[in-house]
Symmetry: C2
Subunit: 223 residues, 2 copies
């Protein structure tokens, strides 16, 4: 499903260059459940952005579902992402001044799902993450953990084939976090590929495989 | 130092009311090290905003250092905050398009500290949180954990008497998180009052006292 070969990512800041990824080679199979760990600043989110076709490598190649990302146009990438990938961003990236229910409907709106079905499917996902009574709240009217759960519901709205979750339980207490991980695990059991960045040991322990990053390199791959 | 009596906070959303805090009574002494825990949405951040004089209770009273918050003007509250309280927000609230060093200088700028001393003190705090090599990065050029550490450095910049930290290690790996908590603990040992919201058991275990919130009420107070 995902094939990465000698992937490098270099950010240019004026004269200086920041080497965020320094040659990552890894294969991820369809339906796998993978955790990604590593120190702060080690390249985890940068790698997730590439997995989600949100950015391109500076060197090396990344192929998803047989498609070489570098050979796709931005429109093709957006179409591919919309139909295949659900992303839970580390910073949530919810639309401000937009109610929770509409934030969750967004992927369905892009996919052309009619209004009634959009509303119904979005409401179902918000109920699943325990926010049935907060659907009309704007992000600024929600707690940190509630905002994170809206971001999770949005990632699941369009029944994606792959979910990329970047520290999805970082703002949640242990009970709520377990409920979210149970939800992810049930979807993985039905065939969804799940890749989760986390620094919480109990979340990583649930995955079947653990990748560890350090200074932009993949240093461990445990099953 | 901090005296809260029957504190309620009600958010109005059109016709509906959200009861975020339902009568909280608690005293916090000068120099204490207190952890606040509780489920997502239970009122922790709302309570921290009141402790930081960033908001006012709907009912009940909150007194800090003998000053009744309700009796202060907005200017008096801002002056009091600037000289006394360092706040690490759950969502960081860094100034975008502003380098890390300038984000950390901000409290010193408000306090009227001259430019040379500002730069020197801000750089010292960034070094303390392990970001000596990221001072010129904008928030968008930093990882999630790095942004959080900039927010921590900013809270400490003006040597506050009280630090209110809302999930300060939520985006950090365990090693970086220990380094940050060691820094806080050393400052607490020197007399700084420390109040930390966390859902991580190992962070809460370090505090001398643990308050637990549930549905806007203080349900436990363990020493
Ligand atoms: N501006 C607002 N308008 C309406 N309701 C709000 C507003 N801000 C917060 N709330 C509600 O108040 C309750 C308490 O929120 P608070 O942010 O204090 O929770 P918390 O304990 O910090 O949760 P978390 O662990 O998820 O950060 C939540 O149910 C939230 O939906
Ligand atoms: N736009 C950018 N410009 C320059 N440097 C960047 C940019 N984005 C990220 N970086 C740097 O790239 C490195 C990797 O960042 P990344 O966000 O992938 O880390 P991470 O492993 O997700 O960390 P965290 O656990 O703190 O979220 C960091 O050192 C960061 O400072
Ligand atoms: Mg990250
Ligand atoms: Mg909160």
């Amino acid at each position: 499903l995902i094939v990465a070969r000698d992937v490098e990512k270099i950010y240019k800041m004026g004269e200086t260059e920041v080497h965020a990824l320094n040659g990552v080679t890894v294969d991820i199979q369809d339906g796998e459940y993978v955790a990604i760990m590593g120190p702060s600043g080690s390249g985890k989110s940068t790698f997730m952005n590439l997995l989600g076709a949100l950015d391109a490598p500076t060197r090396g190649s990344m192929t998803i579902n047989g498609k070489d990302l570098a050979a796709q146009t931005p429109e093709q990438l957006a179409k591919f992402r919309g139909g295949t990938i659900g992303f839970v961003f580390q910073q949530y990236h919810l639309l401000p001044r937009t109610p929770a229910i509409e934030n969750v409907e967004l992927p369905l709106l892009y996919a052309g799902v009619p209004a009634d079905a959009r509303r119904e499917r979005a409401a179902a996902r918000l109920n699943q993450v325990g926010l049935g009574d907060r659907m009309d709240h704007l992000p600024s009217q929600l707690s940190g953990g509630q905002q994170q759960r809206v971001a999770i519901a949005r990632a699941l709205a369009n029944d994606p084939r792959i979910v990329l979750a970047d520290e999805p339980t970082g703002a949640l207490d242990s009970k709520t976090s377990e409920e979210i991980m149970d939800l992810f695990e049930n979807l993985n059991a039905e065939g969804m590929t799940l890749i989760v960045v986390t620094h919480e040991a109990d979340v990583a322990a649930r995955a079947k495989r653990r990748l560890t990053f350090r200074d932009g390199k993949l240093v461990e791959d445990d099953r």
